[in-house]
């Protein structure tokens, strides 16, 4: 069961700050489902977590909210 993080109400830079800090507290192999809005968060969160070595498993859209599923490296 993936952990969840909702950053739809957050602005730059707390969107990716929260993703980074949440991933830092997780174990390797655990999954995180991040709910975010389109624009800056959707453009940047998948890229920056990939850069940090994590894996983006899927990106799905539910109305205006996008869910990025990440597996921690």
């Amino acid at each position: 069961m993936a952990k969840t993080l909702d950053i739809t109400g957050d602005c730059c830079p707390m969107t990716f700050v929260k993703v980074k800090l949440t991933l830092a507290k997780m174990q390797s192999g655990e999954e995180l489902d991040v709910a975010l809005c389109e624009g800056e968060p959707l453009n940047n969160v998948p890229c920056t977590v990939t850069e940090q070595g994590h894996e983006v498993l899927s990106i799905r859209q539910e109305g205006k909210v996008h869910h990025v599923l990440i597996r921690k490296a």
């Binding site: 602005c11 830079p13 707390m14 700050v17 980074k20 800090l21």
Partner: protein, 159 residues
């Protein structure tokens, strides 16, 4: 794995709005896999004073006056339209109502993200600030040559 991109920020200003800029850049960069160091000098030292309010820090009369009048992190003035210190509080309220991280939130995030805090030896000397007058996250008191040496392969911003 290739080495991390580095960002060094010279935090010269002790203005509230500029401090928000410093910590927004620092946390954003640290969260996107960059190694970040903030070099606090002159008025920027007010942000990292251990006591966030107004204190008569120092030994000489002028240093004591400067430190009292400048205050700490709770006394940072807005660079424009400060209105005797009311504006930073109004601005913090506006930031909260729009769900933008406040300076305190950014400050805590920077510490949690492992942003490096260093302080300027020379400015501390002038203002008669001692190592123990600054928060524990300030790991080192360094001079300009050490700072430049460390920032050799970094982007440097002056705020």
């Amino acid at each position: 794995m290739e080495s991390k991109e580095k960002l060094s920020i010279v935090c010269f200003s002790g203005d509230f709005d500029r401090a928000v800029a410093v910590f927004t850049l620092a946390t954003g960069a640290a969260a996107t896999n960059r190694e970040v160091t903030i070099f606090f000098t002159f008025w920027g030292l007010n942000i990292v004073k251990k006591r966030p309010g107004r204190r008569w820090t120092g030994t000489g009369i002028l240093a004591r006056f400067f430190n009292f009048l400048m205050g700490g992190r709770n006394n940072l003035p807005l660079s424009r339209l400060n209105f005797g210190g009311i504006s930073p509080k109004l601005m913090t309220g506006m930031m909260k109502s729009k769900n933008v991280a406040t300076l305190d939130v950014l400050f805590d995030a920077a510490k949690e993200l492992g942003v490096g805090f260093v302080a300027c030896e020379m400015a501390m000397h002038i203002l008669e600030l001692k190592r123990e007058d600054l928060i524990d996250q300030v790991t080192e008191v360094i001079g300009v040559s050490t700072f430049l040496d460390r920032s050799r392969d970094a982007k440097i911003l002056f705020i």
